[in-house]
Amino acid sequence: MYEGPVQDLIDELGRLPGIGPKSAQRIAFHLLAADPADIGRLQDALQRVREGVVFCEVCGNVAEQSICRICADPRRDPKLVCVVEEPKDVLAIERTREYRGRYHVLGGALDPLSGVGPDQLRIRELLNRIGTDEITEIILATDPNTEGEATATYLVRLLRDFPGLAVTRLASGLPMGGDLEFADELTLGRALTGRRAV
């Protein structure tokens, strides 16, 4: 244990995701030795995040103004909405540069163990959007794990009765550049089930 403020800093850093006690200690001592100007910039950044970041009123993504850049962009196809769990998933899909539609960020997945049910997710907002906008297709892009699959199934049940709305799920299968022999049985099995005619 270090004394006073140093230990406080280590404890706070250690609470961040992906940072264990050793990393926390390393970062703390790095900050102690750092240029005061660098620390100032970090402080400012933290402050601005706390005060300035808002969530887009339409899609729920992190934004600077009340409507995020993607929702405000007229070149984006308003008929297509991709439903994801977290803002970082938006970034992941944006990196593909393939997708020209808009997004809807749920803010998580159904997770009863952590007390997350439909009311804790932005599902009602999604239904409102479908009711008012000109959406024709919903792409479900929740994670392919237990919680993400359950969320997708739940949304399918809610959305399938909307007239004229197509609901699709991201395909799951083999990674590009991989070897067939190294794929696990589950992934390979799904790739087989979801095969397409060429």
């Binding site: 159904l110 997770d111 009863p112 439909p118 009311d119 919680e147 359950a150 199934t153 739940y154 696990d184």
Partner: protein, 385 residues
């Protein structure tokens, strides 16, 4: 297959150990507390990613260390694979095959297959149903490693659904309208789908295993009443006829998923009331029947031992019959058996491609059990003959 080399670092009592084995019988002899079983346990860990003695990984790491390393060279049909496991309690373990890291430790399952018989196995007969479910699931994974993933998925869905039932039950008792239950249908569907896969595999396993267990039991205890293994599902009468019975049909996961879903619907009120998940393979039981009576509670000490031994030998013969020769691990069991059963076990051991045995004294071993001897003493292993 056989284990050609075992190296452990900071595993249980061992700071370091390095042993080479040959096919056939190898016996580790040494007084109690010298660490013989720890070496067998290490080999069993590589095969199942679990210990037969400890439910968690923490006791596996030598006192004062943060992680244990187990390295085994396994020869299967002339091809050698090196499996390395780094066991770090509280974190995820890491694994390498032939020095190349694998994504998940689960990927090493199937490289080494073992059947382990140990004094703890008396719990297979006398212990809770959970012991027998674990026996079935470990054997499923040895048969086909993908069941480790299926079991994992099922456990995850089960935990989520149980959490939902618990909060829903509490809310209902507090007078809320069951809005918490809006997602229960979704979890029911997933539980039925994953549960049906596990259930179908277990039913087929019991159907295939039954005759092997009965034959093994007739061999070790010919004077005893015959034994039978039966799978009892929480589906009860809703389980289609012929499933889980030797010579019956293969279990169809889709039919079982429908049956599970129907059953979940039927008892929903009861589940919400009690806040627990009442239907599914996590509450099933492998019934062990001796003559006409259940072995649990009725079998004598000797009869329980014979039954436990028959289950392990049955598993060994089942795996053998399916192509891969498992390594037989016999941990301190000869001292527990009478002469006839010792000799019967020695006969089976002589057929196996490799058998690793531990014993406190040479006198406990049947005369027929020839093979290499290793002396384990004061943290050292030496080849004695």
């Amino acid at each position: 297959m056989y284990v050609r080399q075992l190296q452990v670092t900071d595993f249980r009592s061992w700071a370091h150990a390095d042993l080479t084995f040959e096919p056939g019988v190898s016996v580790l002899v040494g007084a109690n507390g010298q660490g013989k079983t720890n070496l067998i346990e290490a080999i069993g860990y590589v095969a199942t990613l679990g210990s037969h003695r400890a439910p968690t990984d923490a006791p596996l790491v030598r006192h004062g260390s943060t992680r244990a390393i187990v390295r085994t060279a396994v020869v299967n049909a002339g091809r050698e694979l090196l499996v390395e496991l780094e066991i770090t309690p509280g974190k995820s373990n890491r694994a390498r095959i032939n020095r190349a890291p694998v994504g998940r430790p689960r990927d090493v399952l199937g490289v080494l297959r073992t059947v382990l018989f140990a004094p703890e196995d008396i719990a297979l007969v006398r212990g809770d149903p959970a012991e027998r479910r674990r026996f079935l699931d470990e054997l499923l994974v040895a048969r086909s490693p993908r069941y480790a993933g299926i079991r994992g998925d099922y456990d995850r869905v089960l935990k989520q659904r149980s959490a939902l039932l618990k909060t829903a039950g509490a809310a209902r008792r507090a007078g809320a309208r069951g809005e918490e239950l809006a997602t229960l249908d979704v979890w029911d569907g997933h539980l039925a789908r994953h549960g049906a896969e596990l259930l179908a595999a277990r039913l087929d396993l019991v159907a295939d295993l039954g005759p092997h267990v009965a034959a093994a039991h007739a061999g070790v205890a010919p004077e005893s009443r015959p034994v039978e293994v039966r799978y009892r599902s929480t589906l009860g009468a809703a389980l289609p006829d012929g499933y889980g019975v030797p010579g019956g049909g293969r279990a169809d996961p889709e039919a079982l998923a429908d049956a599970l879903l129907a059953e979940l619907g039927r008892i929903r009120a009861q589940e919400v009331e009690r806040g627990v998940c009442l239907v599914g393979p996590h509450r099933d039981e492998l019934e062990l029947v001796l003559g006409e009576a259940p072995a649990r509670g009725y079998a004598s000490h000797g009869e329980s031992w014979s039954f436990a031994l028959a289950l392990r030998l049955g598993a060994f013969h089942l795996l053998r019959g399916e192509g891969t020769e498992p390594v037989l691990l016999l941990d301190d069991v000869f001292a527990e058996l009478d002469r006839r059963r010792r000799e019967r076990l020695a006969e089976v051991a002589a057929e196996a491609e490799q058998v690793l045995v531990t014993a406190a004294v040479e006198e406990d071993l049947p005369e027929k059990l020839a093979g290499a001897r290793y002396e384990v003493r004061d943290g050292e292993v030496s080849r004695a003959g």
